[in-house]
């Protein structure tokens, strides 16, 4: 049974701590107890940092006792994807090659969280190096969806999404390269946001595809996601692609929760074959809901979006093949075959073969292929041109409408193992999320109901122009408020896979 403290939102928790109704230490202990009780079933965490979490919570309580001002998330526990470097916890990226690696420096995002008094409970499971849509590519075994433990929680940020859904933490941090925050949020029935590229720092985020990787929040409510979005974001001189612009007013937009007069475009291309009937049904209802709340809904065509998936699976693997060259068995991480006779290149090859899983190997080779002489123009070069066409589709859409909407994923959570050895089938999970990664604009997933055929969550995706992240929150909080009123509770409260309520 989840305790009262673990059922609270991040916003409620922070006010209760600030008001002295509960201590941050009590809140943290309640979440650590919850993790101990349910994580053997969920496997959201790779590393739980109980002691350092309690001591971070105690520091918040001491600051409060001393009369110091506390930030909006002070004392709130958080589940951190194991792709950020942390000086007091290992960082594995879900890979054997970094098993036990203890980074010597701290990511900007986690520095900001700690400064804000956010309590990091531990590091969460993920597809190896963030490559996947199910967490099945983790070297440490998959996480399980709290709605149905035989199903995937999505990925690659599936551990953080599962932790938030299972009430192990009210907040989670993920990273989105092709949909790795929004897709797990959708299939777990929670909120997940990919900020505009450059809005949140990549410093200390172990790189997969640097032109796409974007850290962002996961939460059970839109307001909680907005609070975390603002705390974790902002210009960082340590990240050369960080945007030197004010953080969009996400919290104010989430509180506004009003779509009257807003122009909403339904992406015409994200429908039809390959989409589960129940997903389309709930999406259609969400669009009707927006209309009933005063939004002006039109259909918008983005003709090149169907080429986003092929372009992504050239660009991301190309960048990955370059970024992952750093895992060379020389300076840190695993080293295999160093028996005194093998030379450095042999040791590298043996180590990488032993340390990387199948999906990472596939993508490294695919990227090596796309970048190799004779194929570069036909593959990588063409993919970069398609990236321009997709950006132009967004530009012209956003001349007609303020936000675009689509289903977040074509289907609900699939069974563990169903797509494990069929890479293309797995890639299709990110069909609707990839365009925003390629164009760098902001996008979010908010729950919009359960598919009638399997009783599993469906996500509504909202997409906004670059640096107009606040619009996402305006739309999502309006949808959330109307649906919570209709249902009498939040969608995530219906998750029964853990047998408690």
């Amino acid at each position: 049974m989840a305790s009262e403290l673990t059922r609270m939102t991040a916003a409620e928790t922070a006010s209760a701590i600030a008001a002295g109704e509960v201590s941050a230490v009590e809140v943290t202990r309640a979440h650590l107890d919850r993790i101990e009780a349910v994580d053997p079933q969920v496997h959201a965490f790779l590393h739980v940092a109980g002691e350092s979490a309690v001591s971070a919570a105690r520091a918040v309580d001491e600051r409060r006792a001393a009369g110091e001002p506390l930030g909006p998330l002070a004392g709130v526990p958080l589940a951190l994807k194991d792709v950020f470097t942390t000086v007091d916890m290992p960082t594995t990226c879900g890979s054997r090659i970094l098993d036990g690696w203890q980074p010597p420096y701290e990511a900007t995002v986690t520095q900001r969280l700690r400064k804000a008094g956010v309590v990091i409970l531990g590091k969460t499971n993920m597809d190896e190096f963030a490559m996947g849509s199910s967490t099945e590519n983790s070297a440490y075994g998959p996480s399980h969806n709290p709605w149905d433990l035989s199903r995937v929680p999505g990925g690659s940020s599936g551990g953080s999404a599962a932790a938030v859904t299972a009430f192990e933490a009210p907040l989670g941090i993920g990273t989105d390269t092709g949909g790795s925050i929004r897709q797990p949020a959708a299939v777990c029935g929670i909120v997940g946001v990919k900020p505009s590229y450059g809005g949140s720092s990549r410093y200390g985020l172990v790189a997969f595809a640097s032109s796409l990787d974007t850290p962002g929040p996961l939460a059970r409510t839109v307001l909680d996601a907005a609070l975390l979005h603002e705390v974790m974001s902002g210009y960082d001189p340590m990240d050369s692609t960080s945007v030197d612009a004010p953080v969009p007013p996400c919290v104010a937009a989430a509180r506004q929760a009003d779509v009257a007069g807003l122009r909403v475009g339904v992406v015409a291309e994200f429908s039809g074959e390959g989409y589960q009937a129940g997903v389309l049904a709930r999406f259609g209802e969400a669009v009707e809901l927006l209309e009933s709340l005063g939004a002006k809904v039109t259909e918008v065509s983005c003709p090149h979006f169907e080429y986003a998936l092929p372009a992504y699976y050239l660009i991301a693997p190309s960048e990955c093949s370059s970024n992952l060259a750093r895992f060379d068995a020389m300076r840190y991480g695993l080293r295999v075959g160093d028996d005194g006779t093998a030379d450095a290149e042999e040791v590298m090859s043996l180590t990488r073969a032993a340390g990387f899983g199948a999906e990472v190997k596939r993508r490294i080779m695919l990227g090596t292929y796309a970048l190799s002489s004779g194929y570069y123009d036909a593959y990588y070069g063409k993919a970069q041109q398609v990236r321009t066409l997709i950006t132009r589709d967004f530009d012209s859409a956003f001349e007609q409408v303020d936000v675009l909407v689509s289903p977040t994923t074509p289907t609900t959570a699939f069974p563990i193992g169903a797509r494990a050895d069929d890479p293309l089938a797995m890639y299709l999970a990110d069909l609707c999320t990839i365009p925003s990664d390629l164009a760098g604009n902001a996008a979010l997933s908010v729950p919009c109901g359960l598919a009638p055929e399997d009783g599993l969550p469906v996500g509504l995706q909202v997409m906004a122009p670059v640096l107009a992240d606040d619009r996402l929150y305006r739309v999502a909080s309006a949808v959330e408020a109307a649906l919570v009123q209709r249902w009498g509770h939040r969608l995530v409260d219906e998750a029964k896979g853990l047998g408690d309520d």
């Binding site: 590229y197 020389m330 160093d338 073969a353 604009n441």
Partner: protein, 97 residues
């Protein structure tokens, strides 16, 4: 144009991945399927469309050249697979003959 097992073996060498024969067979089929799918980018990417290399609206970013203390040898070598005399110890990089 299907990708052959020999080509996959070549890619594995370039990628510094010592793959087994079974892995090469397995990946050859999968990579062929994936490459056939991603080749669809060639249907629409016409001449004259500029490439997009990244999504940030940024050109060069400059900063003042300020000295900051480095991590230090102890911190850097702490996670090394092998270290000796304050340095990384690596396998030989030259062949003997």
């Amino acid at each position: 144009m299907p990708i052959t097992r020999d080509e996959v073996a070549h890619l594995a060498r370039l990628s510094r991945l010592a793959l087994s024969d079974a892995e090469l067979d397995h990946f050859a089929g999968q990579l062929d399927t994936i490459i056939a799918h991603v080749a669809r980018v060639q249907e629409v990417a016409a001449d004259g469309i500029p490439p997009t290399t990244h999504a940030a609206a940024l050109t060069n970013v400059f900063r003042e050249d300020v000295l900051v203390p480095p991590l230090g040898a102890a911190a850097v070598l702490d996670q090394a697979p092998a270290a000796e005399q304050g340095r990384f110890r690596v396998p030989r990089i030259l062949t003997g003959d």
